[in-house]
Amino acid sequence: MQPFTTHKGIVAPLDRSNVDTDAIIPKQYLKSVKRTGFGPTAFDDWRYLDPGEPGMDHSKRRENPDFVLNKSPFDHATILLARENFGCGSSREHAVWALTDFGFRAVIAPSFADIFFNNSFKNGLLPIALKEEEVDALFGLVKDNPGAEVEIDLPNQTVTAPNGTQYRFDIDSFRKHCLIEGLDDIALTLGHSEEIKAYETAQVERTPWLFNDLRGHTGG
């Protein structure tokens, strides 16, 4: 996983609440068996005027000129700014892959849906929850000064606006540590294999009916 320490970049204002993961990456692209290549179809229904299908050359499609990510300088944005309950709906991690593949390193919003929030940390995308009035202020600053860069400092848990205003954000200490170090969760957990086995040994006695394992893939 790509570690995250500090990042400075352009902020794209997506002035919508309840942005769902169906909107971030529509279902037809979930047929891919890969983790990459979702960037060109991020926000597909809003971003293009023609319907999209997997396998198309998306650079040849008709862009919606009114959509924020089609406008300069936001087509080079690396920080996404949105309203409350960002990432609600389907658990599809493809939504996070679409954002990172587009080039986003962070999303700032007043609140996030739980599964999206979790998925972000697994992929080096930093979801930052700021107060509603702080998000409002950032929308104002971006509107007055499009293209001005915002700086995110994860170790110090701050977002610095172009006018120098600094906002502090909260983050779970374990998640922060994993993100800064770019740690692989699975390797960490496998370091506790003996404890997992000990738990299983105890549970087989307590709830044996949960250890009646299914066999093979084609058997009856």
Binding site: K31, R35, P54, C88, S91, Y199, E200, T207, W209, L214
Partner: protein, 476 residues
């Protein structure tokens, strides 16, 4: 450190706390727990990258026998024998089969009678059980909470984590009790209850919480009805929703293929009976609804919280004091092609979809058939379809002659799968088409680009199909 964690030594425990504590393998100082996962459901869309991750790291599944896989999102609902026409969908379904073979995971392939929507087949097979922790790379995993399980959706990275370690890193969430007390009126179903709850608390009302649904109205629901309620916990923002175990729960599992039998069943049942919140347990938040005031519901907008009783009207953004909310309502009305203040019963529909992990169990089909019997799909309705949740539901419905009722009325009777709930297969809305749908999400483009979804109960969807517009099923 191994063992149980006593968070609230003074007060009793909620059901969520009991389930969580019974699965803690170890706990870090910051409260992050390593939670043991008993049951892992797998489908073709969110698993290929996880299997690939295992392969790349040279890892094996920790306990393949705790996994059950089924293709459901991409499968066709017509002409199964002809296979999957779309080559991209076909490749994804084939990839699931190959991965299950390679890693020794049990799969119900497309031709298996037991194939169906992952959340329908879990309880149907007795694979998901009371007191178990259940995960799946699918947000509607909350469905299994209806049987007193701790069940929640995860992303693909977490799917890989569970495959490799049989555990997940989790922090305890806050607890929310939603109490629905009183008797539900005739024609008012589990779907109406959960839509009314979402209408009240909003799509983020349960974010950061595990919901326990309680109260006499919830207790009066069948296990299948409770599944419809818990299914949509995620539409209220909560990853997990659950209902305490009672005798109905225990009876439900008496004849399920993978459930324990004989003495082992009685031993399990004894434990299952403890799976309820203690009388003195404290919830972080409590919300109450009066069941007697819940009417049949229909959504009008592009978020499940945008819902009104069928007796109501399309809301007017001009009456909304919050400017951000009002703007959201305007966008929704524009997308849905609706005028404010239109009575819901004046809205004509183009299609009907009865199916999905919310409402494709046998009781849902019985409820729809009871309304349809002797009727005929309205002329303005171009497609009305019933998609059973599994091959076994389909078989049972045919035994009861429900298929004939649907077919005689002009409904199509399809093969099981997710179908038009998310339109990954060939079943979809065309731009501008309006659908009465028993599914769970009315997001923009959910059922097809430009499609307009109205969420409602199976009985209400059936009645709308016959009338050609929304109607109050109590008068249909």
């Amino acid at each position: 450190m191994t063992g149980l964690h006593e968070d609230k030594p003074m007060a009793g425990k909620t059901l969520y706390e009991k389930l969580f504590d019974a699965h803690v393998v170890r706990q870090q100082e910051d409260g992050t727990a390593l939670l043991y996962i008993d049951r892992h459901l797998v489908h073709e869309v969110t698993s290929p990258q996880a299997f690939e991750g295992l392969r790349l790291a040279g890892r094996k599944p920790w306990r393949p026998g705790a996994m059950l896989a089924v293709p459901d999102h991409n499968v066709p609902t017509t002409n199964r024998a002809g296979g999957i026409v779309d080559p991209v969908s076909r490749e994804q379904v084939n990839t699931l089969g190959r991965n299950c073979q390679e890693f020794g995971v049990k799969e119900f392939p497309m031709a298996d009678l037991r194939q169906g929507i992952v959340h329908i087949i879990g309880p149907e097979e007795g694979f998901t059980l009371p007191g178990s922790t259940v995960v799946c790379g699918d947000s509607h995993t909350s469905t299994h909470g209806a049987i007193g399980a701790l069940a929640f959706g995860i992303g693909t990275s977490e799917v890989e984590h569970v495959m490799a370690t049989q555990t997940l890193l989790q922090k305890r969430t806050k607890t929310l009790q939603v109490r629905v007390d009183g008797d539900l009126g005739p024609g008012v179903t589990a779907k109406d209850v959960v839509l009314a709850i979402i209408g009240k608390i909003g799509t983020a009302g349960g974010t950061g919480y595990a919901i326990e649904f309680a109260g006499s109205a919830i207790e009066s629901l069948s296990i299948e009805g409770r599944m419809s309620v818990c299914n949509m916990s995620i539409e209220a923002g909560a990853r997990a929703g659950m209902v305490a175990v009672d005798e109905k729960t225990i009876e439900y599992f008496r004849d399920k293929p993978y459930a324990p039998t004989g003495e082992m069943f009685e031993r399990a049942a004894e434990y299952w009976r403890t799976l309820k919140s203690d009388p003195d347990a404290e919830f972080d938040k409590v919300v109450t609804l009066d069941a007697t005031r819940i009417e049949p519901q229909v959504s009008w907008g592009t978020s499940p919280e945008m819902v009104v009783p069928v007796t109501g009207k399309v809301p007017d953004p001009a009456a909304e004091p919050d400017p951000v909310k009002a703007e959201g309502m305007r966008k929704a009305l524009a997308y849905m092609g609706l005028e404010a203040n239109t009575p819901m019963t004046n809205i004509p529909i183009d299609k009907v979809f009865i199916g999905s992990c919310t409402n494709a169990r046998i009781e849902d089909l019985r409820a729809a058939a009871a309304v349809i019997k002797g009727g005929r799909v309205a002329d303005n309705v171009t497609l009305a379809m019933v998609v059973p949740g599994s091959g076994l539901v389909r078989e049972q419905a045919e035994k009861e002659g429900l298929d004939k009722i649907f077919l005689e009325a002009g409904f199509e009777w399809r093969e099981p799968g997710c179908s038009m709930c998310l339109a990954m297969n060939a079943d979809r809305l065309e731009p501008g088409e309006r659908c009465a749908s028993t599914s769970n999400r009315n997001f923009e483009g959910r059922q097809g680009q430009g499609g307009r979804t109205h969420l409602l109960s199976p009985a209400m969807a059936a009645a709308a199909g016959i009338a050609g517009h929304f109607v109050d099923v109590r008068q249909a």
